[in-house]
């Protein structure tokens, strides 16, 4: 449809994403668990400071190793896909972002502020010095419903390796750091995710020399990642805490514990779809086992309990209000003729809550899957055509209506 190799078969798109399958522990509240490692090669400057030639060399060395057996046998299915991100269509880049296989920054391909300016000039350096900034500004100005944007003016060499068919392991090359290893799993599964990431890390390290120093640990472009270079996080669905007005309390509590609780789509706004991400912050001087323990055994079970209590409290004391919220949402989704992805997420969140609590007879996994399938790139891939924003709103409404048995 958009040219280039098809990254993911249509059946994978239709099935949603494995991390959204609701198969892990505590999946009524914990949508997914993620472990991310930041690693750099000793041989090259970090991406934001490297010349395009150095980035291309980094990419080549990493690609050779990652696709040459380093990741084999780590996941069921055992297939490693490689995509040079700078040559992908905008649609494919957005698809990978929506599936959480790579970051928005990696898709955009704009290195961090001042990077292009700071890098020493080379023969193959981009011509227009403002092009990076302009593209970034354009990307920022793009509304959330905007589909795949313009391809970046400068094709900055960067890539991604990921495992198929389970998509649980991905490695971004030349993002903020040379390597960003990610393991993403359904439900509360941080221990499993850590074990898998640790093993992948060992395998990668067997062929690529990492930047490491005893005092600072794994050396990263941003010093907040230095140390073990680990970020562990969970994506949580917290509609009960929002409806009961207690979400601020949880935000404050996590801040006091030096954890970050952010809306999943956007850092400071009200979380779209009541999806929040909680993650550790400091990585210097804390062993991975302690970070893991803190999140998986202490913090997350507590937030899960709060959310369940909030849901139970609403059922007991504010049932009519809760039903009103859920049925209104279902009504809109079953009858709307135009839907933005934000509105779709907002309503789907309440419908998922209603399905979880048995208030409505809806197929919960199918509802959860719609969180992803209503996103712009997924919607377009699913329907097999590229559409402008207005047409997407119509198509989204039609798709959701059909999926939820509306009229």
């Amino acid at each position: 449809m958009t040219g280039g190799p098809v990254l993911l078969p249509p059946e994978s798109i239709r099935a949603g994403a494995p991390w959204l399958a609701g198969t892990g522990r505590e999946s009524d509240v914990v949508i997914s668990s993620r472990v991310r490692l930041a690693r750099n090669l000793v041989a090259f400057p970090f991406p934001s400071r490297a010349t395009l030639a150095q980035r291309a060399q980094t990419l080549e060395a990493c690609q050779r190793h990652l696709t040459g057996g380093a990741l084999d046998g780590l996941t069921p299915g055992d297939r490693v896909a490689w995509a040079p991100v700078h040559t992908l269509s905008a649609m494919d880049r957005h698809l990978l972002v929506e599936r959480h296989l790579m970051s928005k920054e990696h898709a955009r391909g704009i290195a961090t502020p001042g990077a292009t300016k700071a890098a020493p000039p080379t023969a193959d350096a981009p011509k227009g010095p403002a092009s990076g900034k302009a593209a970034e500004a354009a990307a920022e100005a793009r509304p959330a419903d905007a589909g795949p944007g313009e391809a970046p003016k400068t094709p900055e060499p960067r890539g991604i390796a990921f495992t198929l068919p389970d998509e649980s392991l991905s490695v971004m090359v030349n993002e903020e750091d040379h390597l960003r290893v990610q393991v993403l799993r359904s439900g509360l599964a941080l221990s499993e995710a850590w074990r898998q990431a640790d093993e992948a890390d060992d395998r990668i390290e067997a062929g690529l020399a990492y930047a490491y120093a005893p005092r600072f640990g794994y050396l990263t472009a941003c010093p907040t990642n230095v140390g073990c270079g680990v970020r562990m996080s969970a994506m949580l669905h917290l509609p009960g805490l929002r409806l009961s007005g207690e979400i601020e309390k949880v935000k404050r509590a996590t801040r006091d514990m030096n954890l970050a609780l952010r809306g999943f789509y956007g850092e400071n706004s009200e979380a779209a779809g009541d999806l929040y991400q909680v993650s550790n912050q400091m990585t210097l001087g804390k062993p991975e086992s302690a970070i893991l323990h803190e999140l998986e055994r202490e913090i997350l079970p507590e937030i899960v309990r709060y959310e369940r209590d909030a849901r139970a409290g609403l059922m007991q004391r504010k049932r009519r209000f809760l039903e009103d919220q859920v049925f209104r949402a279902l009504g809109v989704l079953r009858h709307a003729r135009l839907l933005t992805p934000e509105e779709a997420l907002e309503r789907l969140s309440l419908v998922r809550l209603g399905a979880m609590l048995g208030l409505i007879d809806a197929n919960e996994p199918a509802v959860t899957r719609l969180f992803l399938l209503t996103q712009p790139a997924h919607l377009q891939r699913l329907l097999g055509r590229e559409m402008d924003q207005g047409t997407r709103r119509e198509a989204r409404a039609d798709f959701v209506r059909t999926s939820l048995g509306g009229a």
Binding site: T58, A209, R215, P223, G227, M282, G285, P287
Partner: protein, 163 residues
């Protein structure tokens, strides 16, 4: 040239202000460390400390040696400990590398053992973990304390030649 950073209270003494890498500086690991009270620019990639403070990103691994003291202070203020205590590379750090490609020599043997820490590194790790353990016990966070105690044991084992 000395610059005093009011925020970080660090005196940065200009040693090298070249925009590029020092031609005498090997591109490989173990860059020349010329820290007295800090340096103004990284000898390998030429990033200045001021530019780092402006953009928040370091330029290369040698920046950590060049700005070590300042970075250590910065991270401790942000809640970090003075020394790394987690995972470290498991393969022998002395394996010959091909610096041009950043690859380890594929012919070299791969040691899949517990990483070897030098005594000073181990000592600093122990001190960080003991402090955290004491804090956890004082705060009656016993599960966390058990986790830290296990980490200390692993560290002691790695020092006792248990591979």
């Amino acid at each position: 040239v000395s610059i005093v950073h009011s925020k970080s209270n660090i005196v940065v003494t200009a040693v090298s202000l070249g925009a590029g890498a020092d031609p005498n500086d090997p591109a490989g690991p173990g860059p020349a460390v010329r820290v007295v009270a800090g340096v103004a620019a990284c000898p390998r990639c030429g990033l200045t400390y001021a530019a780092f403070r402006q953009h928040g990103l370091l330029g290369c691994e040698a920046c950590y040696a060049a700005f070590g003291e300042a970075l250590g202070a910065l991270l401790e203020r942000a809640g970090g400990a003075p020394h790394h205590v987690g995972k470290s590379p498991r393969v022998g750090a002395d394996r010959p590398t091909d610096p041009a490609a950043g690859r380890l020599n594929p012919e070299a043997p791969v040691a899949r053992s517990v990483p070897t820490l030098d005594p000073e590194d181990r000592q600093r790790r122990e001190s960080v973990l003991r402090k955290q353990l004491a804090e956890a016990v004082a705060a009656e966070q016993y599960e966390r304390a058990v986790c830290l105690r296990d980490e200390l044991r692993r560290l002691e084992q790695s020092g006792g030649g248990v591979a």
